[in-house]
């Protein structure tokens, strides 16, 4: 008979994390989670001390988005927990598996408005897949593995475990350790639905495909490319799906929607069958939903059944794992060249050629991105913040592999980039991690420069500095008669000086005699560094579909507009 194991709740948590294979956690200690931190000090798990709990949340996101496995962040009660919420909500909307463990006031003080008490459980419910308030140390033995199972099963997402301080200190006795929580296999697609889907694809004359983040989460990118080739389907991606099909692929249409190429939105508008895989018809992707793909029958594959029919009614809905469904469709559909459709697609794309001249000038965002693309290896990880630089990156950087773009899609969280890049570098120390950011976003989690310097992570920060909230300014230019209220910083920040102050290397791109060489120098070095590029604040991200319009109502770059912008810049 085996001896009983006797441990505190805090020790149980740490041992269970080790048994889950967690190697790195990010967090900040405080009064209500100190027992947990004390137990962690005896563990081989590496702890990364963030400077703000939101930073810890996004560092965990960076690890999870890079590996696809749940990552862990820790915070104390009250403000520690509330500071985490933005990162949790971001993970929920982008389906990122996170396990958040927060300290809570002792059980006896719950509900008394104790110091640093807040209803963390209640706050977490709407932005997690599930949340627990742990009421005894023994419960942790079921809750922790269950948390990992839930976070990674089906449509991944964040979970939160709120652990009162006295539960962390309470002893529990148990005979053996529970098995680590692993993702559950999804249910197989229904054969009849698969047959109907295959028949619809075979019957289609102008089929097209959209790949979303679910394709990447499912590891189905290769299968999706094969199906596109087999059925001659031009393929677009949502922001979250970029990298699922290589930008170099002849069938690749790039991103669709508000900042998709005009030809991409036109091709989708003309398709008679839409195969939507692991995407949820977000309004930034579809424009006005009723006018999106108006002539198309829709086959919707999504592991989350509640997404099917939520925005667009589907002719066939397959609530299953993308890889399983695509594998079946590969076996069931006919190989067809669809020459007429391919011809039409080429025609539409050619009409857009020359809309924008190629950019190499390093003083422009597109020039910087082109140079980055040229210099970076294919397996580089690009992280963005949120704003103009994000859309330019999504439009112009040639993503070739799944998980090569980490970006905040659903919640659109400025401040996402820096801590997420740190997390990516922690998860993949051998990879080249480049954060493309703007001055507005960088300042929202600027304190994490200290974390990056302290951990010595290999990240290169490419800062496109226009001294304004560029995407806000753009919308004011376009839709509010250029009344640029509260979108321009009246006082500039010397970001290189700031970065050096935090202990990292920094350079101004426009001061370099040879910007190309300067960029390659920072891309080759080790440890964190920042390169700042001053960019024109009057630049617009175009083409653009105005909010509330159909995807066919695109604002495209026009010579007259460029001249006006130039005149404004000179004035």
């Amino acid at each position: 008979m085996c001896a009983m194991i006797r441990m505190t709740g805090a020790e149980i948590i740490v041992r269970l994390l080790e048994r889950q294979g967690v190697a790195v956690v990010a967090g900040i200690p405080g009064g209500a989670n100190l027992p947990l931190y004390d137990a962690l000090s005896h563990s081989p798990i590496r702890h990364v001390l963030a400077r703000h709990e939101q930073g810890a949340g996004f560092i965990a996101q960076g690890m999870a988005r890079t590996t696809g496995r749940p990552a862990v962040c820790l915070a104390t009660s009250g403000p520690g927990a509330t500071n985490l919420l933005t990162a949790i909500a971001d993970a929920k909307l982008d389906s990122v598996p996170l396990v958040c463990i927060t300290g809570q006031v002792p059980r006896g003080l719950l509900g008394t408005d104790a110091f640093q008490e807040v209803d963390t459980y209640g706050l977490a419910v709407p932005i997690t897949k599930h949340a627990w308030l742990v009421r005894s140390a023994a419960e942790l033995l079921t809750i922790i593995p269950e948390a990992f199972r839930l976070a990674s099963s089906g449509r991944p997402g964040p979970v939160l475990i709120d652990v009162p301080k006295d539960v962390q200190q309470e002893y529990a006795e148990f005979a053996h350790w529970p098995e680590p929580g692993l993702p559950e296999p999804s249910s197989a697609p229904i054969a009849k639905d698969l047959e109907r889907a295959a028949a619809l694809i075979d019957a289609a004359r102008r089929p097209a495909m959209i790949l979303g983040g679910g394709v990447i989460a499912s590891g189905a990118s290769e299968l999706a490319v094969q199906l596109a080739e087999r059925c001659a389907m031009p393929t677009s991606m949502t922001l979250m799906g970029l990298g699922a099909m290589s930008a170099d692929h002849p069938l690749c249409l790039g991103m669709l929607g508000m900042h998709g190429a005009r030809c991409t939105n036109t091709i989708l508008h003309e398709c008679d069958l839409l195969l939507a895989v692991g995407m949820r018809f977000d309004d930034r992707a579809t424009g006005v939903a009723s006018r999106f793909c108006p002539e198309a029958e829709i086959i919707h594959i999504d592991i989350d059944a509640s997404e099917i029919g939520k925005i667009k009614p589907a002719s066939v809905g397959l609530a299953t794992d993308a890889a399983q469904a695509l594998q079946s469709l590969l076996d069931m559909t006919q190989r067809r060249p669809r020459v007429g459709w391919q011809h039409r697609v080429r025609q539409i794309r050619q009409a857009d050629a020359g809309l924008e001249e190629p950019a190499t000038d390093m003083r422009t965002p597109r020039g910087i991105l082109a140079n980055l693309a040229e210099q970076l290896p294919e397996d580089a990880i690009i992280v963005t913040d949120v704003g103009q630089h994000q859309m330019w990156t999504a439009m112009h950087y040639p993503f070739r592999r799944p998980r090569s773009l980490l970006t905040s899609g659903g919640l659109g969280t400025m401040g996402f980039g820096l801590p997420t890049a740190i997390g990516a570098a922690l998860a993949k120390p051998e990879a080249r991690v480049v954060l493309v950011t703007g001055d507005g976003s960088l300042q929202m989690n600027l304190q994490e420069l200290a974390t990056a310097a302290e951990e010595g992570v290999n990240i290169t920060i490419v800062l496109m500095d226009n001294a304004s909230l560029g995407l806000v300014r753009q919308q004011q230019d376009l839709f509010f008669d250029s009344r640029n209220y509260a979108s321009i910083y009246r006082r500039g920040v010397d970001f290189c000086q700031v970065a050096r102050g935090f202990g990292m290397r920094a350079a101004n791109l426009h001061e370099a005699r040879d910007p190309y060489a300067a960029l390659s120098r920072v891309l080759c070095g080790t440890g964190p560094c920042l390169i700042r590029a001053r960019v024109d604040s009057s630049d617009h991200v175009l083409p653009m579909v105005p909010p509330g319009a159909a995807n066919t109502e695109t604002i495209v770059p026009q010579p007259r507009m460029k001249e006006e912008a130039h005149a404004r810049a000179c004035a």
């Binding site: 939903a289 029919g309 925005i311 667009k312 105005p546 109502e553």
Partner: protein, 128 residues
């Protein structure tokens, strides 16, 4: 910049649109057409959940954040240690979507549309 491009646009209520789509798609609209009173245009849903403090808030929080208005909520313990939550909902077309969203909650074990529940809850309303 074509300034007129956005002048003609108004914010389209996607929520409303998806309603009508769901209606066609799922056919759960309660359009019996037998001259019902407003009171009978309601659907009762029985939700079986794992019982713990906070589970009612989980269900109600979902209703609120997905913009569903419950006419009545009635919660009582079941014999097997689970809990039954009755929801009386106006029979709009999104009920299938509501059912799918409820099913996603970890504590939810079953979601059933129950005709007899409506009369039960209406009787209850009369007594209370």
């Amino acid at each position: 910049m074509p300034a007129h491009a956005h002048d003609q646009l108004c914010d389209v209520d996607i929520q409303t649109e998806s309603l009508s789509h769901m209606n066609q798609a799922s056919g759960t609209g309660g359009m019996e057409g037998d001259g019902q009173t407003a009171g009978s245009n309601l659907t009762a849903i029985r939700v079986t959940v794992a019982d713990h403090p906070g589970v009612l808030s989980q269900v109600c929080s979902l209703l609120a954040r997905r913009a569903f208005q419950a006419e009545a909520v009635f919660s009582l313990p079941a014999k097997d240690g689970s809990r039954t939550i009755w929801l009386l909902m106006s029979s709009d077309a999104r009920l299938e979507q509501l059912s799918r969203q409820l099913t996603k909650l970890c504590d939810v074990q079953a979601v059933e549309f129950r005709e007899e529940g409506r009369k039960l809850l209406e009787t209850l309303n009369g007594i209370l």
